[in-house]
């Protein structure tokens, strides 16, 4: 029979068997929704993390002491005892570099901050006056450190929003003294509420000059060096120059590891892609389950409609007509299920995004054609067997079937 006619017939058959069709579609709806939603979660997470990275400042170069194996360079490397970065390295970079716009040595450690009225566990972050420039932090009150603060190792502090709130409430903090690990520091600046920025909650950090922090932790070994390239396009040159300067100072040995946004994004992307693949695999399995659901119900449908098959064969349908009829029915069901699945997942994600704008799990548009095609091919793959079964029932047996 002509394709269009079978299509109309199968659409009619689907409407005639609403409940059964709906149940069959459900498998496909869930399968396609799984595909779209899981991919959306994957890409949403990726988008979120990428934007986090970008908010950190785009030209950032991080230098960690010690050399880590390139192969497992996922995320910032852990410092090893071999290799050591000092303030002298930072000074050399500041003096010699042409390509860097800012350089800061950094220290990092846990600590306690106290006022007369309150005590707080916090993270202490040692940084110089240029650090602010590297990481794009906005100061809401006062100022970030000055070069004099750094050079003379003054006991001044720039504090995160939460620390200010918990220590001083709505009162003024600027100019007040706080005890950072028992050493008195004067608050000179307060950072605007920022939230998480690449694993740190900036709002929970107390920044003090690098020199003061080295004194506080009683060491000359920096946690690392942070720098920013003058331009994004100058990133490679900056890395090369930085490497050269440090190598020269370290007796020609590259006993440090450079991590840039590019390398970090790359390793992050590797992880995120793995996540997306894993989600895609799960989605694929649910698609498979949907397909098996279709096959099951089509098999039931073939048995239920044995008599119909007999009647159609008796009045002149060929095996191929019956095959086409059941194939098209399976495909129409799976494609309708697929389209419904697409519609429902769009509805869910867009509604969520509307009410929770920060929660952006809207599916990327590129997933829609594959999702549709997948439902189409699932219909074909899982429709073949039932349709072949239907086509090979003997006419007389089908007519005698009770």
């Amino acid at each position: 029979m002509i394709f269009r006619k079978i299509l109309v017939n199968s659409a009619e058959a689907i409407v005639e068997n609403k409940l059964r069709s709906a149940l069959t579609m459900l498998g496909m709806i869930i399968g396609v929704m799984a595909v779209i939603l899981l991919v959306s979660v994957g890409t949403g997470a990726k988008r979120y993390i990428t934007s986090e990275f970008e908010s950190m400042g785009t030209n950032v170069i991080m230098v960690q002491p010690g050399k880590t194996d390139k192969k497992n360079s996922m995320g910032p490397p852990v410092s090893s005892s071999k290799g050591k970065l000092t303030l002298a390295d930072v000074e050399a970079l500041l003096k010699k570099s042409q390509t860097l716009s800012a350089v800061s040595g950094v220290m990092f450690g846990a600590g306690v901050v106290k006022t007369e009225n309150a005590t707080n566990n916090i993270n202490i972050f040692g940084a110089n006056d240029q650090f602010n420039q590297i990481f794009n932090m906005t100061i809401s009150e006062g100022d970030f450190f000055t070069k004099e603060d750094e050079d003379s190792g003054r006991r001044v502090a720039v504090i995160g929003h939460n620390i200010k709130e918990s220590l001083f409430g709505s009162g003024t903090a600027l100019g007040k003294l706080i005890k950072v690990n028992e050493s008195e520091h004067r608050v000179v600046g307060i950072i605007k509420a920022t939230g998480d920025k690449l694993g740190f909650n900036v709002d929970d950090i107390v920044f003090i000059p690098t020199k003061s922090s080295l004194r506080l932790f009683n060491t000359d070994r920096l946690f690392g060096v942070r720098a920013s390239a003058k331009s994004r396009s100058g990133m490679d040159d900056a890395v090369a120059e930085l490497t050269a300067i440090l190598k020269e100072r370290h007796n020609g040995e590259e006993d440090f590891t450079i991590v840039t946004q590019v390398t970090m994004m790359e390793s992050m992307n590797t992880i995120l892609n793995m996540l997306t693949y894993a989600l895609a695999a799960i989605a694929f399995i649910s698609m498979l389950v949907g397909g098996i659901g279709i096959m099951n119900i089509m098999l039931v449908s073939v048995t239920e409609r044995t008599r119909e098959i007999g009647i159609r064969r008796a009045v002149g349908a060929r095996r191929s007509d019956i095959l086409k009829q059941f194939m098209i029915e399976a495909v129409v069901i799976s494609v309708s299920g697929g389209l419904l699945g697409i519609a429902i997942s769009m509805l869910i994600t867009y509604t969520l995004h509307f009410f929770l704008p920060g929660f952006d799990m809207r599916p990327p548009f590129w997933i829609l054609p594959p999702a549709f095609l997948m439902s189409f091919f699932t219909g074909i793959v899982f429709g073949v067997w039932p349709a072949r079964k239907a086509a090979h029932i003997q006419t007389i047996d089908a007519l005698r079937y009770e």
Binding site: M1, I2, K5, E12, A13, E16, R307, E308, G310, I311, R312, R313, A314, V315, G316, A317, R318, R319, S320, D321, T395, I396, L399
Partner: protein, 233 residues
């Protein structure tokens, strides 16, 4: 040449250990335009014979020529085509598609016919189906579903479906078996009319009243057939 020509037809059914010899060496010639009835006790092989004549089933042995063509050599697709174009089958249990209207049921054989003959348009199918329903007296019931029709009306739909492709042969296996005597009489009259217009009719019946009004009666008994031609109708 005979329209239907059965030569030494046997049909066996294997039911596990048991072998049923449902048709035992049937030889039968039926000419175009005949009105034949088949009688016999239940289980005597009437339906088996009808199914073979209607190309719904194949004989175990023997040759069957339909309109001069040896059907035993046909492919499955050819058999479908012959069922579609030469034969109209009417069943005791109507065998209508329960979820399709009278009209859709009658259109169905023509839908398949249109795959063999591209000249058959949707418009022609609709027109022929309506005309045929009119012919069997159901023009006011075309959009009814089978379960909205009486037994007699259902059988009329089934007859319209058998007729719609203008077959040479109408095969009716106990078409009045599920109907009361008045309705049976109407259905029989319909077959008589069709026969008068030239269609060959073979009808299986338990009703001796019906058989008595056919010129030719085939009596089946245990797979064997006795052919008799009545002079007086």
């Amino acid at each position: 040449m005979a329209l239907i020509d059965l030569k030494n037809i046997h049909k066996h059914f294997n039911m596990g250990e048991e072998n049923i010899h449902a048709l035992n060496n049937i030889n039968l010639s039926i000419n175009e335009g005949e009105f034949t009835s088949i009688v016999g006790t239940s289980g005597s092989g009437k339906s088996t014979l009808m199914n073979i004549i209607g190309l719904l089933d194949l004989p175990s042995e023997g040759q069957y020529f339909l309109d001069g063509v040896n059907t035993t050599l046909m492919t499955d697709d050819d058999l479908s085509k012959y069922r579609n174009q030469k034969i109209g089958f009417v069943f005791q249990s109507f065998n209508l598609l329960p979820k399709a209207s009278a009209l859709k049921n009658v259109e169905m054989p023509m839908q398949y016919a249109s795959t063999y003959n591209k000249d058959i348009s949707d418009g022609m199918i609709r027109k022929m189906a309506l005309e045929t329903l009119d012919k069997v007296g159901l023009s006011s019931r075309v959009h009814h579903l089978p379960n909205e029709l009486s037994g007699g009306q259902r059988q009329r739909v089934a007859i319209a479906r058998a007729l719609v492709n203008n077959p040479k042969i109408i095969l009716a296996d106990e078409p009045t078996g599920a109907l009361d005597s008045k309705t049976s009489e109407e259905i029989l009259t319909l077959f008589k009319e069709l026969n008068a217009q030239g269609t060959t009719v073979i009808i299986v019946t338990h009703d001796s009243g019906i058989a008595n009004r056919c010129r030719r009666v085939l009596s089946m008994s245990d797979g064997l057939m006795k052919d008799s031609v009545q002079v007086k109708i």
